[in-house]
């Protein structure tokens, strides 16, 4: 196999034009999934028997079954029912992009909910108690004390989930969404140059994830000056982050 730079470059350009689709799937499903996850986490930690059972069942089903099958069920499966075809959801459920986003969002919601629950449970009880003793309760306590600590605790696990989601968007190619992997397969069926095309696709995923990893690391760094080492010099002025950063 020769090293055909011109072909590699033209493949890169063609696959690059599918990157917005991959990023669109990723951004829509991660944010929709985060919304669902908030609801499921609420169910899970609410203490109510029914709500908590629903939360558990949801997480069990969506973490425990293959995402690809979930996607097939939503895109190919639901259309079999006339009731679905005649419902007001049909414009959404007949569209491959929306179905892929829904399947990805349902699935990541299960994982994200567990990550959020872990973050919440890791909030030290005594910091919550200090908030109560100062007269905080309800939303104020959640917004000022519980959520900020929980988010910091959950961030590393959340980064992993987000990177997994970038890769999971590749499955959308199997319900006819022309994102990077789907476009790569189409190119291969035209050129039969499997190795080169998939290598370029791999490179594109690595680039996307490299940027996401760096961004998440930056967020983590910004949010956790309290977990870094104590500043070396006993400065009286500036912020600690700047001593190290």
């Amino acid at each position: 196999m020769g090293f055909d730079v011109a072909f590699l470059w033209s493949t890169f350009v063609k696959l690059g034009s599918a990157v917005p689709m991959t990023l669109g799937l990723f951004a829509a499903s991660v944010s929709l999934g985060a919304l669902f996850a908030l609801g499921i986490t609420y169910c899970r930690v609410s203490g109510g028997v029914l709500l908590s059972a629903f939360g558990r069942a949801y997480i069990f089903v969506f973490r425990g079954s293959p995402l690809l099958i979930q996607m097939f069920l939503i895109y190919y499966g639901l259309g079999q029912f006339p009731a679905v075809r005649h419902s007001l959801f049909w414009p959404v459920l007949r569209d491959p992009f929306s179905c892929a986003v829904l399947a990805l969002a349902f699935c990541t919601a299960g994982y994200q909910a567990e990550i959020m629950r872990g973050g919440l449970q890791a909030v030290p009880a005594r910091e919550i108690e200090a908030g109560r003793a100062a007269g905080m309760s309800g939303l104020l306590l959640f917004r000022r004390i519980i959520a900020p600590i929980a988010i910091r605790q959950a961030l590393p696990a959340y980064s992993t989930e987000i990177i997994l989601m970038v890769k999971s968007t590749a499955l959308a190619s199997l319900v006819t969404v022309w994102e990077v992997t789907g476009t790569a397969q189409r190119l291969i069926s035209q050129t039969y140059r499997t190795m080169e095309v998939f290598l370029v696709a791999t490179l594109i995923y690595l680039l996307i994830n490299f940027i996401i990893v760096r961004l998440m690391a930056l967020v983590e760094y910004r949010l956790s000056p309290h977990l870094r080492e104590r500043p070396v010099t006993a400065n009286s002025g500036g912020r600690q982050g700047e001593v190290h950063g």
């Binding site: 030290p124 005594r126 910091e127 108690e129 200090a130 908030g131 109560r132 003793a133 100062a134 007269g135 905080m136 309760s137 104020l140 000022r144 004390i145 900020p148 600590i149 910091r152 949010l223 000056p225 309290h226 977990l227 104590r230 500043p231 006993a234 009286s236 002025g237 500036g238 912020r239 600690q240």
Partner: protein, 259 residues
């Protein structure tokens, strides 16, 4: 005593059980403005539980709590236990009774200065600039002005507890509740915290202090309460109670500290 002033804190007949174990069996206390009351007792005597009942971090099973003349409204739920009738009132009263904890309980994600202004800005809804200026003065007072942008994890235990005391003061509370403030500290760090507390007592702050520091109880407080198995076993001015208490148990208790 006909025109006795309204007590800063008045607690009547507090009972509290955890399961079968009755921790508090009817404890009452009146603290006037400026009183410094030390609450002593062996571990398990119920002294921390009693303090935590005053700001309802523990809900008492029986009893009444009045802060500056305002009774905390309580009602019975379906199971028959006492619960606060008005959560908003509880939040407000808690903001008037600042608490200092054994393990400091500073908010780990905030700097010392942010810890100090959190309550005043978000609970008391006061202007931020004003709160920062006051917080800086308080940090000066507890000797932490240089450390205002540090996070709790970067401070020693003694510094964290002084920061926590400053955080309590920032709420401009009517009274301060100290729950074993020096028990989690290395011995060499106890002194710096006691020094700050002594200064507060001299300013005329109203303080309830659950402690094992006999010297503080004896030399700084106006009154000493000794709890034993959930009741007040001895109570009085330190100069009386430490020299001639009629409670055999209290004499034994202080004897252990002198040994």
């Amino acid at each position: 005593m006909a025109d006795a002033p309204v007590p800063a804190i008045s607690v009547r007949n507090i009972h509290k059980s955890f399961g079968q174990h009755e921790v508090l069996r009817g404890i009452s206390l009146d603290a006037q403005d400026g009183d410094v009351i030390s609450i002593l007792g062996a571990s398990g005597s119920g002294k921390s539980t009693f303090l935590r009942c005053i700001n309802l971090l523990e809900t008492p099973d029986e009893g009444e709590i009045t802060v500056a003349g305002e009774a905390i409204a309580m009602k019975r739920n379906r199971a028959g236990s006492l619960v606060p009738a008005d959560r908003k009132q509880v939040d407000r009263i808690r903001s008037e009774l600042a608490m200092v904890f054994q393990s400091f309980n500073l908010w780990s994600h905030m700097t010392v200065l942010q810890n100090l202004i959190e309550g005043p800005v978000h609970v008391l809804k006061r202007p931020k600039a004003e709160c920062i200026a006051e917080a800086e003065a308080l940090l000066e007072k507890v000797g932490l002005a240089e450390r205002r942008n540090y996070y709790p994890a970067h401070l020693s235990g003694g510094q964290q507890q002084r920061a926590a005391i400053a955080r309590a003061l920032a709420m401009q509370p009517k009274a301060l509740l100290f729950d074993e403030p020096t028990s989690a500290l290395d011995p060499e760090l106890v002194g710096e915290v006691l020094k700050v507390m002594r200064a507060l007592a001299e300013e005329g702050r109203t303080m309830l202090v659950v402690t094992h520091e006999m010297a503080f109880a004896r030399n700084v407080s106006d009154r000493v309460m000794f709890l034993h198995e959930g009741i007040v076993e001895a109570d009085g001015a330190p100069e009386d109670i430490f020299t001639n208490s009629d409670s055999e148990r209290f004499r034994q208790f202080i004897g252990n500290f002198q040994a």
